[in-house]
Amino acid sequence: MKRRRDGSRGFSLIEMMITVLLFTALMGAAFGLLQVTQERYQTESQVLDSFQDARLALDQMVRDITAAGFPPANHFSGTPPFTAYASSPFAWSPSYPATPCIVGACATPGDFDLIVETDSGSGVQWIRYQLQGTTLYRGVAAKADGVDPADATAPNLVPYIQNVMNNASAAQIAQFQGPYPAMFPGGNPVLLFHYDFEPGSSLNTPPNISSVNVTLIMMAAQPDVHTGLPRLVELNGRGNRINPSN
């Protein structure tokens, strides 16, 4: 056999086998890692989608709460038409507007239900947020005389965001407590709306609400692909009532 003059030669079988073996092992590791990364990315993307939904919803709720009560009765020299001003930043049911209920005994506002009374640009409107199961609904209705705000807004409620787990079932909460032990204290539902009242006010009625603390717990559409556990995000916001209560 004649030796090649330039000194170059092909790989030996052993060299090729070692190279292929190493290459296969590396590529296997690479694609395995890539798959894990892609799965993780998909899970995180869903969590981020939930986070974004929650953020937008929370932002809107806080804006509505902060702007509630405009225009107040003090902007009119006499007694204005009922629908021209906000009787109270926060409407209630039952007995609206004659007798404010005590928060806790009201049908609304409640732990998962709130109606703000605010300017629509061409009048006064009621905006309602209500959590039914795991879906947060939002409904808007023009303020009307002789009508209960809860009745007026109920037909207009439309799904706003889904997978809101504040008032999840006991079984679900038990499932959440593994990966998120501090999110549901005592294994109880987490209030969507928590109210602060004017200092010195003798009654905790809707007109005396000074701020609303909003807590949103959202679950990603799919569980974690590796652990199979649900993925949750929690956002907190606070809307301070600035307009006076009438």
Binding site: G7, S8, A29, T37, R40, L48, A67, S77
Partner: protein
């Protein structure tokens, strides 16, 4: 041999390069994935932070504007808004500018977006501001070496029905755009005679990332709205007045007989009121009997002198804040809320000089309990005492003195004591401190006193109770 070694080295270096390239590709893919993931999360968190931050920045601007409308604020606008006694006319716009280093803020330069033009005024009023009447001042928010809140400007102006989009007087038709609105303590009104001018305070905040927010207050200075029917009011049936026998003592129901000079013009004297007012007809006789021969020193309605002494049953015209223990208690709580100085009683060491105020800077002093005054005390504003007020001082108080709670005041000195404004006593609480259902007799014992007395003075009354604070009447975000 050497040639074989060189050839082997060349072939091995080819395999290493191949492996290195694949390894790099692998690492790059993983890194890019991670960067994309964390980048998305950062962007979301950043958006949320911006939204909250720009809102609070605009609120900070509103609060600077509102705060500087109060005379109690060390950075009070004063005549920058309007000369004393006058109102801010429509078209006269005031701006607080808060430019970041290196930028220019010019709300009137609508042709230059980078100067943060005020495009809202035109929307509200339908006309641009009167550029010749626009005044600007710089924000006080940046502290040396730090950047203040990122609001760009705050506009302060008179408001109209049109600017608010509200039919204030429910008159129907086109909203009024020529008459500024005023606040009477309860409601906005188109009548300037009903109260203090309402101001629109509008703030624009812009963050470096481009987030913008415009928020608006309607705000007005508030007053206690106290009016008096007598220079000395003994509120509650059966109240007792032990006057001094000194012939220099005087109780004046005629306005502005004494108590000047005044910090600001306050108009012509108001109609006479009683020198001493009680709330039960039987007490009129008792007080007149106590005054006895010194009747000519008590002037006011019924008049004219010499048909003295001026002692009347004022229960019919009593200010609503003086009519019941609950109303009086609410008044004292309000005074406490706005107090510049609040002390727990008993306070026997007098009041610090700074709490006594000046004519241009009257103070609100609230004492929860007894107060004993000694030495020389010259104060301006409101002195509210829930316990017994005892003066062995040479006291001059220009403003309002409220002794509401125990309802007992004693002047136990031969030094002169003078109150220019009004004095009211009421017993609203029992010995245990519980609120009474009905007012019980108050007691004013001036028997050991000598000269001066109580002189009705609306200038001092108004000076004391006006400009307690600038109240937010409404708040709204403006759509851009």
């Amino acid at each position: 041999m050497a040639a074989r070694v060189r050839a082997r080295k060349r072939s091995q270096s080819g395999a290493a390069l191949l492996i290195a390239i694949f390894a790099l590709m692998l690492i790059s893919v993983v890194a890019i994935t991670l960067i994309l993931s964390s980048g998305t999360e950062s962007a979301l968190a950043s958006n949320y932070r911006s939204s909250v931050r720009v809102n609070y920045a605009a609120l900070a601007g509103l609060e600077e504007g509102r705060g500087r409308l109060s005379p109690k604020n060390p950075n009070y606008f004063g005549a920058f808004i309007a000369p004393p006694g006058s109102t801010l006319a429509l078209g006269q716009v005031r701006y607080i500018l808060n430019a970041s280093p290196g930028e220019t803020v010019d709300p009137l330069d609508s042709a230059t977006p980078s100067s943060y033009p005020d495009l809202e005024y035109q929307k509200e009023f339908g006309v641009p501001p009167d550029s010749g009447s626009v005044l600007t001042t710089n924000s006080v928010s940046p502290v040396a070496g730090t950047l203040g809140p990122l609001y760009k400007w705050v506009r302060i102006n008179a408001v109209t029905e049109r600017s608010l989009g509200i039919d204030v007087d429910s008159s129907g038709g086109t909203p009024n755009n020529t008459t500024p609105l005023f606040y009477d303590g309860q409601h906005l009104s188109l009548s300037s005679s009903t109260g203090r001018q309402a101001f629109g305070i509008t703030s624009l905040a812009v963050l470096p990332d481009g987030s913008q927010k415009i928020l608006q207050y309607v705000a007005a200075p508030i007053s206690l709205n106290l009016t008096f029917s007598s220079a000395i009011t003994l509120d509650g049936a059966g109240s007792v007045f032990n006057p001094t026998t000194n012939s220099s003592f005087q109780a004046e129901g005629r306005d502005q007989i004494k108590g000047g000079p005044y910090g600001v013009p306050c108009g012509s004297p108001q109609p006479d009121i009683a020198a001493v007012g009680v709330t039960d007809s039987a007490d009129v006789t008792a007080v007149k009997t106590a005054i006895g021969a010194r009747a000519s020193r008590y002037k006011g309605t019924p008049g004219p002198p010499p048909s003295p002494p001026s002692v009347s049953d004022v229960s019919g015209g009593l200010n609503t804040s003086f009519q019941t223990p609950a109303a009086l208690d609410a008044l004292m709580q309000t005074v406490k809320l706005y107090a510049d100085w609040a002390y727990p009683g008993p306070t026997t060491s007098g009041l610090p000089t700074s709490a006594l105020g000046t004519s241009s800077n009257p103070q609100i002093v609230y004492v929860e309990g007894d107060l004993s005054l000694t030495g020389t005390v010259t104060g301006y504003g409101i002195l509210a005492v829930t316990g017994q007020l005892t003066s062995t001082a040479h006291l001059t108080w220009r403003g309002i003195v409220l002794v509401v709670g125990k309802g007992v005041m004693t002047v136990g000195t031969t030094l002169d004591n003078e109150i220019d404004g009004a004095l009211l006593l009421a017993k609203t609480r029992d010995s245990s401190g519980n609120l009474l259902g009905v007012l019980e007799p108050a007691m004013l014992d001036w028997s050991a006193g000598t000269g001066d007395g109580v002189f009705y003075n609306t200038c001092r009354i108004n000076e004391a109770q006006n400009n307690l604070n600038v109240k937010v009447l409404s708040f709204r975000p403006l759509t851009q």
